[in-house]
Amino acid sequence: MEEISILLLFDVLVGLTLVWLAWQTLSSLDLFRAIVLFIAFGLLMALAWVRLNAPDVALAEATIGAGLTGALFLSALAQLSASTKRKDEENKIENS
């Protein structure tokens, strides 16, 4: 019985952290931080899948959901900030 309640406590903790990470991902001003939080969110989701007896989904989530989606986001952000930098430099030249 005690074991069950400890596990349930763990589940509650995972659940709350998931919600917190999701909230932080969306409300963080820094996009880089948002993406890192999103990757952490994905990894924690994988843990949730394990707890739900879904190891196949956990593997898919860790590799695709967190890993590759995260890589896609990071690469997109890198290109976005490169283009912002370029635009800033152009503006500077125009202004000077």
Partner: protein
């Protein structure tokens, strides 16, 4: 890794907007919670059906049995979705190649070690999917991770492989899936029906091709453009003659 930071200072929406939307979302969540709460405590799912037929399916991992036998049609179309996303990304032409001339030596060293490990692990996941957690999608993602590492090290696909050969590998999984699925139609079966004694082998064959295609597709999505097209060529806007 280069420091990539981008602060976007959005003007915060008014308190009224946030509050109204917040209340609406709360109501939505509450009614969904009620809907979930009113469900029976015991699942009405298909566990029994899945288990009963698993011997006929050719694999013993029930999830793989669903993905590649009972509901393999979904999986077939899903391979299509992945390919379609790639068509879409390529049609956008890519903005500009991510030219990072600076290669991190640690990353370089790591990738020399990690890429073969990833490829091996991918093969393992593929093999194990028949009877334990794993399968084509997970294996494909790990394979793609190897590709992502290579791209981060400025690795480039040799020109002679980036045209037809690449496209061929990308569609291989889907085409083989259709070919095997339709092959038995000529032996008086329906589309996607496999003889039980051959199912295991056929599923592994389909999964092997799918893994390769999924892995390369995902890596290509990361690259973000058709490697056979010169990255600087401007997207042409002429639509008609």
């Amino acid at each position: 890794m280069r420091k990539i930071k981008l602060k976007i200072l959005e003007k915060k929406p008014s308190l009224f907007t946030r509050l109204t939307l917040g209340i609406l979302m709360f109501l939505l969540a509450a009614s969904l919670a009620y809907a979930v709460w009113s469900l029976p405590t015991q699942a009405l799912g298909l566990s029994a059906e899945v288990a009963k037929n698993v011997e006929m399916s050719g694999v013993s991992n029930p999830v793989t049995a669903v993905l590649l036998n009972y509901r393999s049609y979904d999986t077939l179309l899903e391979l299509g979705v992945l390919l379609l996303a790639l068509f879409g990304v390529w049609s956008l032409g890519g903005v500009s190649a991510n030219k990072s001339s600076f290669v991190n030596p640690i990353l370089d060293f790591l990738s020399r070690f990690l890429v073969p490990v990833f490829i091996l692990f991918s093969g393992y996941l593929l093999w194990v999917g028949g009877f334990a957690p794993g399968g084509a999608f997970q294996a494909g993602a790990v394979l793609a991770a190897a590709g992502v590492l290579l791209f981060l090290n400025d690795w480039q696909l040799e020109r002679k492989y980036s045209g037809f050969s690449l496209r061929f590998v990308l569609v291989l999984g889907l085409v083989l899936f259709v070919a095997i699925g339709f092959g038995f139609v000529f032996l008086d079966r329906v589309f996607l029906e496999y003889p039980p004694q051959l199912a295991g082998g056929l599923i592994l064959l389909i999964e092997a091709a799918a893994t390769l295609s999924i892995g390369i597709s995902l890596a290509a999505l990361f690259l973000g453009r058709d490697p056979s097209v010169k990255s600087d060529s401007k997207i042409d806007t002429g639509v008609h003659k």
